[in-house]
């Protein structure tokens, strides 16, 4: 029953529809005579002859009219939407760094902002996998990590550090949007980036400045070329009575004479060239002993800057002084009994107290040898302490190397006799003179010559020679010993280090001699080194500036005494 009603309803509706269509067609033919005439003329429509055709045509025309209106409306809407989207795209492109990549992360398109920010032309980047924009070697893994997220249909957002063509770092806020086709296939990715480098740097600068303001040291940041101040921290401003504004208008040398004295052209050249990562000097600043550490850094904008830390070292100096006094006192307390021991043994051995049997003499020699060794340790510890605390006194004068080395050969002849070797002095080039403390340099020579004698085979020769190195003179002491094992090379000049014995040859020593020699040579503005091989023996050498090129001892001495 229900089925019949339903069919009836549909049929009624269709008839009603046809009626309405006929009505509208008639209306149309009267209101649009042109269409009516043309339809009549065409023979397709004759109100009385072919009413079914007329109804159908009228119906179609009505539908077309409706559809046309709808399309027009939709086109207008689409136009509006398109304009909005175009505007948005332009706005995004004007504001953001935009790149479009394929699913394999190859760049398809970049905007002008991209070119400007990274310094590449679009031709240089299109077709490349955009992992090259990442500064670390894991750029590829970062790209694939983002890609896998995008493939799953999710947007990726985050902050990234990217590399521009000039190797500068760009800090960007990135958003990557995956685009899918109608089949749900990932076809491309749009990356939108905003350069936040300046903002981040500004934040970092503020953070850095507030950290540096809490530091107990005075900190100065200045231009390495014109030495104009770029920043001084609170501690420095307080001493100088500067405001931040005054600081920015100042020259670093206005911060104190110590800067003028320290920042010599040669020091600036050394630091700027990167020959030494940092330089350290001691000085008096308003009567306080300070340490000035200067190093070349790069600011957050990548530009080179010089940074000097000025540290109050009065407490350290005081502690060093106390330590030196203690060591000096211990040294004195040890020397006094040693004087008696050595004196007694010396008198016994000499026979002035009566003849000794061979056995007794042998035992006395052992005792004397070891008391000498003990004295050497005491002397060396005191020396190293004086050197470390800057209290070793230097009295530089012009030293003629020829006579100096002759004296060294004579003074150390005892070692030659003891070890059964011969010192051979090669005459130095004419006019070889140094500006040095001859006593201290004699100490260096004694150390090198005694070592060479001890390590030489009996009957061997130790050669002492001088080489002109331009502004420097090289003094070498060469033996034909077994050489220094490779594992001892690195630490040979460290405290309490002795080369490993070779071929069972045990050699006495404190392990301080070379460390002292190195310090003394360096205090003269020179350097010490060695060349060794199992067949060729060992050559220890030191290079010192020729007289006239060596103001450094006096400077160091002045620093050491000024800080007292």
């Amino acid at each position: 029953m229900e089925k019949h009603i339903s069919r009836l309803t549909v049929l009624s509706c269709m008839i009603a529809g046809l009626y309405l269509a006929a009505f509208y067609t008639f209306q149309l033919s009267t209101s649009l005579p042109a269409i009516g005439v043309s339809l009549k003329e065409s023979g397709l429509f004759n109100g009385s002859v072919n009413s079914i055709w007329a109804v159908q045509l009228a119906f179609l025309a009505t539908l077309l009219l409706f559809r046309n209106n709808k399309v027009k409306k939709q086109t207008i809407i689409l136009d509006r939407k398109s304009k909005v989207i175009d505007g948005q795209a332009q706005a995004i492109s004007a504001h953001s760094i935009v790149s479009v990549t394929d699913p394999q992360a190859k760049i398809i398109e970049v905007n002008e902002k991209f070119e400007k920010a990274f310094g590449y032309t679009s031709a240089e980047v299109i077709g490349r996998n955009h992992s090259f924009l990442y500064p670390t070697t894991n750029g590829t893994s970062q790209v694939s990590k983002i890609s896998s997220r995008l493939k799953s249909g999710k947007t990726w957002s985050g902050q990234e550090r990217l590399l521009a063509k000039d190797n500068s770092i760009l800090i960007v806020q990135s958003t990557s949007l995956p685009i899918f086709d109608e089949n749900g296939k990932h076809v491309r990715t749009i990356e939108l980036r905003t350069d936040v480098t300046k903002q981040r740097r500004s934040e970092s600068e503020k953070n850095l400045a507030s950290i540096m303001d809490t530091m107990p040291e005075e900190i100065y940041v200045y231009d390495p070329d014109n030495l104009n101040v770029l920043y001084v921290n609170k501690k420095a401003r307080a001493r100088l009575g500067w405001t931040r504004r005054i600081a920015l208008k100042s020259h670093i040398q206005e911060a104190g004479n110590v800067f003028a004295e320290m920042l010599t052209p040669s020091l600036l050249e050394t630091v700027k060239s990167g020959k030494e990562p940092e330089t350290c000097a001691e000085a008096l600043l308003d009567g306080t002993p300070v340490e000035l550490i200067t190093r070349l850094n790069h600011g957050l904008d990548g530009e080179p800057v010089l940074v000097t830390f000025v540290r109050d070292i009065s407490e350290r100096k005081h502690a060093e002084e106390l330590k030196l006094q203690s060591v000096s006192m211990v040294s004195h307390e040890l020397r006094t009994p040693l004087t008696s021991i050595k004196g007694a043994l010396g008198l016994l051995k000499s026979g002035v107290m009566g003849p000794l049997s061979a056995n007794v003499n042998n035992i006395v020699e052992i005792a004397e040898r070891n008391s000498n060794r003990l004295l050497l340790v005491v002397n060396d510890i005191l020396d190293i302490e004086k050197l470390n605390s800057g209290k070793m006194e230097f009295f530089p004068q012009t030293v003629d190397l020829n006579s100096f080395l002759q004296e060294a050969t004579m003074a150390n002849n005892g070692y030659a006799v003891e070890c059964g070797i011969e010192f051979v002095l090669t005459e130095p080039p004419a006019g070889s003179t140094l500006h040095a403390d001859s006593d201290r340099m004699m100490q260096v020579m004694s150390n090198l010559m005694s070592n060479a004698a001890k390590f030489s085979p009996k009957g061997g020769k130790v050669t002492i020679s001088v080489k002109d190195m331009g502004k420097m003179l090289r003094v070498s002491v060469s033996d034909k010993g077994p050489g220094i094992p490779q594992e001892s090379h690195e630490k040979l000049f460290d405290l309490f280090v002795q080369a490993k014995p070779v071929a069972g040859k045990k050699v006495d020593g404190t392990g301080l001699g070379l460390a002292i020699a190195k310090k003394i040579v360096e205090m003269h503005g020179g350097s010490i080194g060695f060349e060794t091989g199992p067949q060729s023996g060992t050559t220890f050498y030191f290079d010192l500036p020729k007289a006239g090129h060596a103001p450094k001892v006096a400077e160091i001495h002045a620093f050491a005494t000024a800080a007292e």
Binding site: T336, L338, T339, I341, K342, G343, L347, S350, V352
Partner: protein, 129 residues
């Protein structure tokens, strides 16, 4: 220049005095008078009338420098040269002493077989200059 024969040696350390006595008398052949303190030296120096003062620097109560100042304040000893012995190995100590008029500074421990020669050499150099 007279010969160096009489030496006044002042040192508070008994053992060192004994060693020095053998060095100076037996090895060096000098006439030696020894004192264990500055005060004793001030009491006995003039009577001994030494050619040379050999003084230890670090001594309790009155150190070597003070002893020397008091000794040369005495008219009969005013021109007596002094040599110091010190276990303090600092260059500044030696320099100060030499600048103050000491003719030599000998660092302890000294070589007992060389001590006499060291004194003679310093004496000769002083009078030769």
């Amino acid at each position: 220049m007279s010969d160096l024969t009489k030496i006044l040696h002042v040192d508070d350390d008994d053992d060192i005095r004994q060693i020095a006595l053998v060095s100076l008398e037996v090895v060096g052949g000098f006439n030696v008078h020894q004192c264990s303190s500055g005060k004793q030296a001030l009491d006995e120096a003039e009577a001994f009338a030494p050619d040379l003062l050999l003084l230890d620097v670090m001594m309790p109560e009155m150190d070597g420098i003070e002893t020397w100042q008091h000794l040369i304040a005495k008219e009969s000893l005013a021109k007596t040269p002094a040599i110091f012995m010190t276990a303090k190995a600092e260059d500044s100590t030696s320099k100060k002493l030499l600048d103050s008029g000491a003719i030599a500074v000998i660092t302890k421990p000294f070589d007992p077989m060389q001590l006499a020669d060291q004194l003679r050499k310093a004496w000769n150099d002083y009078f030769a200059s």
